[in-house]
């Protein structure tokens, strides 16, 4: 049956040769290679739950009177966007589960991208020939952050509405074109002519997802074309890939992983409340809530805004709000430019023009590892700086002290992180190859002459990891005939 239908398709599309190659693709195994898979699967879940939400959500700032089942809101005038967000949470079966799973999936999506990117960075997987895929990946990260912001702004609740107000002010801060950009995007001065919710909706559900889907296809296509990188090991060279085949082994494991990561997201969506918009209330431009932090992936931008000194340049009839423009436009621009350009910065530095299919151990590239650690430390510190108010309350410290602490820590910590990481890497590299391997116990023995000697104990199970030599993937398997019982016997190939 399969043979017949494959023939029918192959006559028309000629898929047999390429299809066979695809099913035979070898995937190297390492736990860190599944981090990108988490991102892929949370994106699939985002699409699925997002379609569900879009069936009930109304992208409109139009004011209506709420008549749903959520009692505290009944009879209040709210926007259709807010009313439908509350209604799809309470009045649609599985609606709350889908909405919270969607929100969790977005946080996990960006988290797994960040961790996946760190893996690619620290192992040098971005090197030639994979620079394109690094660029594609960073682009998806940026689009993901943008879409996350647009998405959590859609319910038109008090928390996200404040975020939109801040976004407008950040756009305003751009020299020369800022106020024009803001007016065009919002259809006028803030809060605009009621167009921002529908516009965010179109960008959130259509434009950015379409871009991400295209980039994702390119990301995976390049992965197939260029084949996966691998860690050095027995039989592994720059010229081969050693691992398990796409079909059936990898497919089975990755499908299972799709189920598992989706399950975790749904369990979070059902048990860990996230973004309870009905508690925040409808956004009003003159209302605000205390101790409000954005979703985690926006935190570093908010932190940078908080610790910036109050520098505003005024002159020649113009105002340049540096305390907004520098942390909210220049700073992320610089970070993403460095990320994008890193493969080229590194080759300019090392003059290395070779193909690299074998991965680095981070300790073997101390400067790159230290640079990565410095970047992560910087971002982590500005992230913490986005909760100066919460930290001040929690530790019972004056707000001023917490702010000044971060004003020093944010620029200094990357330098410390760079120095420490560099030293640790160099020391680990010099310590030799057996670092991290299980030590064999030494047994003290007394010889017949009365001399005491030590010798290593016998190997315990699991001490020595026996790895087979890699073989090309067989398609045809012998039937186990009696002549096969002897090793080295003639093997019959069945065709």
């Amino acid at each position: 049956m399969i043979d017949k239908s494959l023939r029918w398709i192959d006559d028309r599309l000629g898929i047999a040769k390429g299809g066979r190659t695809f099913l035979d693709k070898i995937f190297p195994d390492h736990w860190s290679f599944m981090l990108g898979e988490i991102a892929l699967y949370s994106f699939i879940l985002l699409l699925a739950t997002g379609v569900f939400l879009s069936l009930y959500y109304v992208p409109s700032a139009h004011e209506i009177v709420y008549h749903g089942t959520y009692v505290p809101l009944q009879g209040q005038r709210v926007s259709e966007a807010y009313a439908s967000s509350v209604s799809l949470s309470f009045d649609v079966r599985t609606g709350l589960l889908m909405r919270q799973a969607h929100h969790w999936a977005a946080d996990i999506f960006l988290g797994s991208i960040a961790v996946h990117m760190a893996r690619v960075f620290f192992t040098g997987a971005f090197r030639k020939p994979r620079e394109f895929n690094w660029l594609v990946g960073v682009s998806m990260l940026i689009l993901g952050i943008v879409n996350g912001f647009l998405g959590y702004s859609l319910p038109d609740d008090l928390v996200s509405g404040t975020g939109i107000r801040i976004a407008f002010s950040i756009i305003e801060s751009i020299p020369v074109v800022g106020s024009y950009l803001g007016f065009f995007l919002f259809g006028g001065n803030y809060p605009g002519s009621g167009v921002i919710i529908p516009r965010f909706f179109t960008i959130h559900v259509l434009i950015v997802p379409a871009l991400i889907v295209g980039l994702l296809a390119a990301h995976l296509g390049l992965l197939v074309k260029q084949k996966h990188t691998q860690f050095p090991g027995k039989g592994r060279t720059e010229k081969n890939v050693v691992g398990t085949p796409m079909f059936p082994t990898f497919i089975a494991k990755t499908t299972g992983f799709l189920f598992m990561s989706t399950a975790v997201t749904f369990l979070l969506g059902g048990f860990a409340q996230i973004n309870p918009v009905w508690q925040f209330g409808q956004y009003q431009p003159y209302q605000i809530s205390y101790a409000v932090q954005p979703d985690w992936y926006m935190g570093w931008l908010d932190g940078a805004l908080r610790i910036m000194p109050s520098w505003e340049w005024v002159g020649w009839g113009h105002t340049l709000p540096l305390m907004v423009f520098l942390p909210a436009v220049v700073f992320p621009g610089l970070i993403f430019t460095i990320l994008m350009a890193w493969p080229f910065i590194e080759t300019a530095w090392t003059k290395d023009r070779e193909y690299h299919n074998l991965l680095d151990r981070p300790r073997d590239r101390p400067k790159r590892t230290a640079a990565g650690a410095a970047m992560l430390t910087l971002l982590l510190m500005v992230f913490f700086a986005s909760s100066t108010d919460v930290l001040a309350n929690f530790f019972q410290l004056p707000l001023e002290a917490v702010l000044w602490f971060f004003r020093f820590v944010v620029p200094l910590s990357p330098i410390v992180a760079y120095y420490l990481t560099y030293k640790i890497c160099v020391e680990m590299r010099e310590a030799g190859e057996d670092v991290g391997e299980r030590k064999r116990a030494l047994v003290v023995k007394r010889t017949a002459e009365g001399e005491y000697i030590t010798e290593p104990s016998l190997p315990r199970p699991g001490d020595g990891h026996v790895e087979l030599d890699a073989i090309p993937l067989p398609t045809f398997i012998d039937t186990a005939g009696p002549e096969l019982a002897t090793p080295g016997g003639v093997r019959r190939v069945i065709r």
Binding site: V292, A470, P472
Partner: protein, 323 residues
Amino acid sequence: MSDRDPIVEGPLPPAALDDPHLQPLAKNPGRTEGIAALSMIVGFLGFLGFGFTYWINASTQWLALTLGIGMLGLGAGVIAWGKYLMPQGPFVEERHDFHSTEPERKAMTAVITERGGMVIKRRKLLTGLFAAGSAVMGVVLLFPLIRSLGPKPAKSEQTFGTTDNSLYTTNWRQGSLVTTVDGRQVRVDDLQTGGVLTVFPRGHEGASADQVILIRLAELGPNDPPYQIEAPGKTEWGVQGYVAYSKLCTHLGCPVGLYQQQTQQLVCPCHQSIFNVNAGCVPEFGPAARPLPMLPITVDSQGRLRANGTFNEAVGPGFWERP
């Protein structure tokens, strides 16, 4: 995928069923299969449970629990199957260089530069016209794409527009009645010392640009001298102890909603800019650089609060055209 490694052309390597590359990783495959099967059964039951909880309209927690168990069970079963019962190899696949041969590269360059270059050189007029046409198209297509989206911001303080198209304008006018968001007119005896109220010009309740925070710093009577504000040119603005400032933070436009009565400070909850109310709301701490603009207030003969003029500068965060 076109770069197929040689094993498809030559005779395929044989493998026997007893080849260790094809052996399952599991020491006891039968037992592993049992565990995987059990896991999948749990998953199956989990999905049935999800159907049931949906049917009876159970709570979100039950829906998530059953769905989670279903997916975890099925997923774990498939992973166990793939990891412990399917051939693990290791198998090897050759890589091939991506680059083409030198003659192939030269040929492609030649096609572009020689064939293409020839066409362009021979028809310079057409090339130029096509380039010009495309460029004009690119520019004019930006008009509907960008320009239609919204109004241009009003150029300067002089060209007053509405708050919809001007960053300089608010709806506060000389004599505007001070009202709360639900349209109630604010009277002089509404606030006690330390009292705070968010107010709007009458007819524009709730408008973003018009929000003003009204604070009573002292309960002074109509015949008392005004409360002294330590700000040049505004010392007499504290009529009957009332002061009014734009509620839009000069940092990023958040409502500056927290009033600390003891220190007479306004705090912005967004990025913790702190303004000294007694000194004309100059920023004392945090990222904000400019004072909150002050609105002169007066009390009319019937005891109602009215604007005694309007803001003399643009409210809210800074922007390029702001003088």
